[in-house]
Structure formats: structure tokens, C-alpha cells
Symmetry: C2
Subunit: 434 residues, 2 copies
């Protein structure tokens, strides 16, 4: 059941709209331009701007002269009005960013995820890294700790977003019912928000996009697992439990085309086909299997894969995957075949998602996308474009994330900024009555 809009919420919504307009105008905007662009009355604009100036979130910077009219004061976002910390907890790497109010990264660091330790020890490492990032920001960037609005942390799902709990992600061993959000909030003494990794990545892309992009897109996330972030009507889809985007069991390859068995009992599931671990192991196995590019029915189950590097350590997996990309780039046939099959499998899945969601743009990113981007992007784009299964009546653009390697950590930071000034109409609806 829905409830009405109260005046306070509308005020907040209008403020968010104005702030968002200012943020997106690189040359700033006058109050008159704001009224025109927002559809709000000059009085409302005046009130909203006064509040934003008081909060030191917006600056008055110079005058604009238009013919003989009164010169207009130009308003710009003050990016130093506030900061947010974003953390991306991946099984292989933990990325940290400090962003300003504009979502621009002002400081970053990357740590290897500690392995074979308890969640508490991982939390120790995260806390230490954030404290050292804050100390550095305070010393070298003059970012006072009290201007840091909070921490967003992106983790593999499933998460319990309401309770701030990470519960048994397949790739984080021993992470059962870990109250990540509250533990971290207590340690740091600031608000923490927890988000699923793929949702955070989509949020970062939405945050950074310009007015030329449409309101809908999907984000193909290639991490230790795969996921699909969905943005519809300019809002990130969170689903019933904040765990959308699970695409690991999307079937993309028939057994007669070399599809490999999946733990679910089916053959050719996207998660298994694109698993960096499987690809690295196949690459190490050399010519015995070209990853499904040619041999019919010749696929071996993962358990019988040829011995590869010891990959209990996800960090080693990350390095081995980079080496596989290098070998493919050098033209080594086994590596090339593996990467080509990877591109085809990704494209097969993306075509189905474009058909289902009617999106005209799919953005690709995530930690394992980076190393193979140059090898994959063009082939995936072509395979999607020419697929007979693509039935949408419009082209589908396949692009790499503009936010690069930081995308998920930036998206986590955006969760903090979002509440401040993302004009999400859903915020207009008060919670249902108990």
C-alpha cells in the first residue's frame, strides 16, 4: 500500500532535484536556469538554494551577464562539502575509495583480501585500511573526519540488506551470518551501508552517467562470480531482498557445443562457463580442451580438470587470470580459444537479458572484466549485434564501465551520497502503516 507525499518529503525531493541539476552542470547554473530546468517556481528555488548554501554544499561562483538584464550569480556544487568512503570486498581484492560530494575519487587503495582467516580478521584489515585512508586524507587533502558522511561497503551476495548481514557467499568461506555493517559502524563510529557488489557497480554507473544516456541499462559484472545489475527508470533495481542479479545458472552452451557440467546438475551454466578458476585451470591443462570452442561432448567436469596452479588463494587466481589474458593477447591458440568461447558465452547471456529487460545498453565491468576487456568487448558486441535471438526492435550497445576498476567501490560510496541527493521518486512514498 502506498502513502501520500508530505511537504517535508517534497522539500527533500525538490532539494535533491536542484542539487542533482547543479552537480550535472559543469559550468554551474543560475537560479533562473535552475527554475527553468527543474520546473520549480523561483521562490522554491530561492529557498532550496539558501538551504544548500547554508549547508556549504553549494558555492556562489561569479556572475553571468546576459544582455542588459541583472547579472546572474552562478551556483556550483562544492565537492568539498562532504565525502564518502566506498569499500569493495571481493574474494580476491579489497578496494577502498574516498570520494567527494561529486562522487569523484580523491584517494584510493587496494589490498589483497586476507585468506584463510576469520571474518573478524578481515574486518580488522578493513578497519585499519579505512583509518589509514582517513588519516592520510586529513593530513594531505585537508579532509576533516567530520565531513565524511559514512561508509558504503559492497560485498558478494546473498546479503541481508536490512540487517546489514553477509550470509555465506559461495566465494567467501566461513562468512556465515556476519553482521558486517554494524560491526564496521561500531569500529569506525560512522554510518555504514551494505550493498550487494553487482548492485553497487550499477549504482556507480548510474551516478556517473550524463544526460545523454537513457534511463535504463544493465550492468554485466564479471568478478569471481558473474552478476547483472539492473537500472530501470533511473533507479537501481533491488528486488524483494536486495539480492537481484544472480545469473550464474543462465544456460548459455549446449553439451554438444562443449558446455561444461554445473553443480546444479545442468550443462553450460554461465557461472561455470565464465568461471575464472575454470578458465585458468583449462589454460594450464593446455591443448587437452579448448574450452568448448570445438570439441563436441568432450567437456570434462570441473572436478576432473587438469592440475593447474594451487588456487585456494583467490589472489593467485587473479594473477593467473591476468596471465591467461596476456597469453591470449600474444596469440597463443589455447588461450585465444578460451577467451573467444568466453566472449561467445557472455554474448549469449547478454542477448537474453536484453530481450527480457528491453534495455538498449549493457555496461560491462568488475574485477575480472578489466584484464580481458580489450579481448572481449568487440567480440561480445559483434556477437550480440548479429545474434538471431536478439529480438528487441532497437540496437543494444555493449560498453565498458566508465568508472574502471574502482566501479564497485565507487558505487558503494554512492550509496552514502545517494540519500543526500539522488532524486529517487520512490523516496516520496512514506513507509506503509504498520
Amino acid at each position: 500500500m502506498r502513502r501520500g507525499t508530505n511537504l517535508l518529503a517534497v522539500g527533500g525531493f525538490n532539494q535533491a532535484v536542484v542539487l542533482d541539476l547543479i552537480r550535472r552542470a559543469p559550468d554551474g547554473l543560475s537560479r533562473v536556469e535552475l527554475a527553468r530546468a527543474s520546473g520549480l517556481s523561483p521562490q522554491t528555488i530561492g529557498n532550496v538554494v539558501r538551504r544548500l548554501l547554508d549547508d556549504e554544499v553549494v558555492l556562489e561562483t561569479g556572475k553571468q551577464v546576459n544582455g542588459r538584464g541583472k547579472p546572474r550569480t552562478i551556483l556550483r556544487l562544492d565537492p568539498r562539502g562532504g565525502y564518502a568512503i566506498g569499500v569493495h570486498l571481493d574474494p580476491a581484492l579489497i578496494s577502498f575509495v574516498l570520494t567527494d560530494l561529486d562522487g569523484a575519487v580523491v584517494a584510493r587503495r587496494i589490498h589483497r583480501t586476507p585468506v584463510a582467516v576469520s571474518p573478524t580478521q578481515v574486518l580488522d584489515a578493513i578497519e585499519q585500511a579505512i583509518e589509514s585512508l582517513l588519516a592520510e586524507a586529513s593530513a594531505t587533502l585537508e579532509v576533516p573526519r567530520e565531513r565524511v558522511l559514512g561508509v558504503g561497503i559492497a560485498a558478494p551476495g546473498p546479503i541481508d540488506r536490512e540487517r546489514g548481514v553477509v550470509d555465506d557467499p559461495p566465494l567467501l568461506r566461513g562468512w556465515s551470518e556476519v553482521p558486517l555493517r554494524d560491526d564496521l559502524a561500531r569500529r569506525l563510529g560512522m554510518p555504514v551501508v551494505l550493498e550487494k557488489d553487482v548492485t553497487a557497480a550499477a549504482a556507480a554507473e548510474l551516478w556517473g552517467q550524463t544526460g545523454h544516456d537513457g534511463d535504463d541499462f544493465a550492468f554485466f559484472y564479471y568478478g569471481s562470480g558473474v552478476g547483472l545489475g539492473i537500472v530501470l527508470d533511473h533507479a537501481v533495481v533491488r528486488g524483494a531482498s536486495a539480492n537481484p542479479g544472480d545469473i550464474g545458472h543462465t544456460i548459455v552452451r549446449d553439451s554438444s557445443e562443449g558446455g561444461v557440467p554445473c553443480g546444479c546438475g545442468r550443462t553450460g551454466c554461465l557461472g561455470e562457463q565464465t568461471s575464472p578458476l575454470r578458465l585458468v585451470q583449462r589454460a594450464a591443462g593446455g591443448k587437452r580442451d579448448s574450452g568448448g570452442a570445438a570439441a563436441a561432448g568432450g567437456a570434462e567436469p570441473l572436478g576432473a580438470a587438469p592440475a593447474g596452479p594451487a588456487l585456494d588463494d583467490p589472489r593467485e587466481l587473479f594473477d593467473s587470470f591476468g596471465a591467461l589474458a596476456d597469453r591470449a593477447e600474444a596469440g597463443e591458440p589455447v588461450a585465444v580459444a578460451l577467451i573467444e568461447a568466453l566472449a561467445d558465452d557472455v554474448a549469449t547471456a547478454l542477448v537474453r537479458f536484453a530481450d527480457l529487460l528491453d534495455v538498449d545498453r549493457i555496461v560491462c565491468g568488475g574485477p575480472f572484466w578489466q584484464p580481458v576487456e580489450r579481448l572481449l568487448l568487440e567480440r561480445v558486441e559483434r556477437a550480440v549485434r548479429t545474434s538471431p535471438a536478439l529480438v528487441t526492435p532497437h540496437p543494444v550497445r555493449i560498453v565498458s564501465s566508465a568508472a574502471g576498476a574502482d566501479v564497485t567501490a565507487v558505487g558503494a560510496a554512492c550509496q552514502v551520497l545517494d540519500a543526500l541527493y539522488s532524486p529517487r521518486p520512490a523516496n516520496l512514498l512514506l513507509a506503509a502503516q504498520a
Copy 2:
């Protein structure tokens, strides 16, 4: 780019919220209860209610006495305040409904879709049926034509919703660039809105649901083709071009499990696996193929299917499909195997959609769902529930549409009512500046 909320839009939004609350309260609501439930001020409620009474959309019906306080006037929707016509153009059947302001069907009729005729002749038939429905409603139900707000028409995709054009649906031969909306509006002299069939079906389900249901669900549409309507945050997803929900090429069955070749070059696509035409042809072929239930690799391509009934006429297909369901219900092994394989294929797809969209409810309906509902629902539900590929951290309910056989036509009518009083927050956002 987003724009702000102006006062008029907020008024309209609040009015929609109030009307929706009244509509959903079977015993009516007082102004005090409306203020409490909506979060709006008593003054706002007073103004909105006055407007609704003036428009004869709401009735004052009796008083409620609460202890020693002033008796409260009870407000109820006046369902006779307005009407809408819904049309579902399916390749086999055309369904027509007349609904009141509450979306309740007050009159209906079903026609066989004329075959082997031009779109103009189909439009003639639609116009005639609507005029006769209107004449009957005027005569027997005292529904004056001027109280009919408009016509919603649901058609197979792809549609061009903005231009109101149906363009070459795979199952409507010769329907190339047909300006269905404007032609019909000209003929009838009333507003017409065009919607994709699967979107309309989802809209009907959303319209009819009670406060106990969540804001998100998917609608599995089983017509001459399959589709998935998506409702997120209490709004129907329309995608970039109003053509979402195409799931025909979702891969659900490996060739080693009897998956059949699809025109797209892949094997085991949902559209082909569940095609009523294919199933009826297989059933006619008797024991030669059990539809993938057992024989490995024994599937024949559709072109080589055993001779079945002459199915150029989609109406005959509908009848033959009903006969197949009857045979399965009677326990005939070939028919049972076909229906069981159908249930398994549907379940395989639904699991993937639940994982992707994080929905906790999938509603099933559409013209070909009805005849097999009793055979399919329980098996699909069980297969989804026990699937190792279902990774959402919550159960997923599989239910049949409450709207029954009329669901798509009712959904089309709802598109007309929707503008009147569906509180869709996106309506708050004014169009972007040119």
C-alpha cells in the same frame, strides 16, 4: 535528466493516492482514516475528496460512529463513475471486456480472431464488437457512452507504443506497421492506448492485488508465444521501447535431454520447447517422441515433425491444445510426458528469472495457461522450489493469475484507468526539457 515536482503534479499524485486507498478499502474510509493512511494533512484530504465528489468518482455512504466523537462520513468509490474497454488481440482469440472504475468486468465477449484476412478486416471486426458491446452496455447496464473513458488494446509485440503501431509480430501474419491505435481511435471516436500483451497481463495483476502482496512480481505469460511481465516497485516495467519480456530464447533444455532445435540456431529455447503448435504436433505424432522426457538426443527438428492437424488456423491450434490437456488429464502416457516436460521447461526458466529479478512471486496466466493450469501449476511450483539453481535467499511462490482468462483484456482496460488513479511516482517527474 530529471525535473522537479510542481504543485499541480503533487495534487494529482495525492488525488491518485487517496482514490487508490478508497478503491482498496471494501468497507470504505472516512476522511480521518484517509489522512492517517495517506500521511496527508486533513486540509489536503478535504480538498482532494471535494474534487472527487464533484467528479462523481466517490460517494458518501453513511456515517460511522466512534464512541462519543462526531460521526464520520464513509467514502466509497463509485464504480459507475467511469468505465473502460479492454481488448486482447491474440492470434487465436480476441477478448473484449468492459470494466467499471474499480477494474471489475461488467461485460465481456470473446471472438475467434479472423484468419487469412487483412489487418483492416480484423479492425472491422474489433470495431463492430466494441460498438455492439457499447450498445448492449447502454441498453442493459445503463452505461452511457460518454462515461466510457477509452479503450486499451493489448497486442503481441513488437509494438511501437509511442506511435501506437503493431509491427510484424511473429504470430500475426501481414501485420507490418499497422497503426492500430490511431485507426481504432478514429473509428470509435475515443482515446485508445496500445500495450504489449504481456505488459497488460502484468498490469492487470498489479491492479487487482491486495495490500498483502509485495511490490515486486513477475508474470509468466503463456500465449501463442511466451513472455514475462515484470513489476518492480509497484510499477510495470516498460523498458527502453515498451517491448520487455521476450523470453522465447531462454535456453532451458540440453540436446542430450531432448531439447529441440530453435530457429535461432540454438537448442532447447523456451519458446520452441513450450510452443503449443509443437506440442500439439508431437501429441499427434503419438509415441514417436515423448517431447524430451526420456530419449537422449532423439529430438527431431520442428520441420520434420509428424503430420498433425492443419494448424494454419490458430483457432484450431487452441482447440487441439485443449484436447491435449484433456488427454493428459485422462492419463494418456504420451500426453502426460509432453505436459510434464512442459512443466519442467517452464520451471527451469522461472528459476532463472527469480534469480535475476529477486522476485518472491511469479504469477502465471495467458490464453494457453488456462487449459493446462491444473496439470502444470503444482509440478512447476515443486520443480522451482527444489531446483538447485534457485539461489534467492527466500521462497518463490508460483501462483495462477487471479484475473483468469480475461487477464490481458482487463490489463488493457487498466491502462485507461491507470492514468486516472494509479499512484505511479514516475508521473511526478515532468518531461525533460527539449
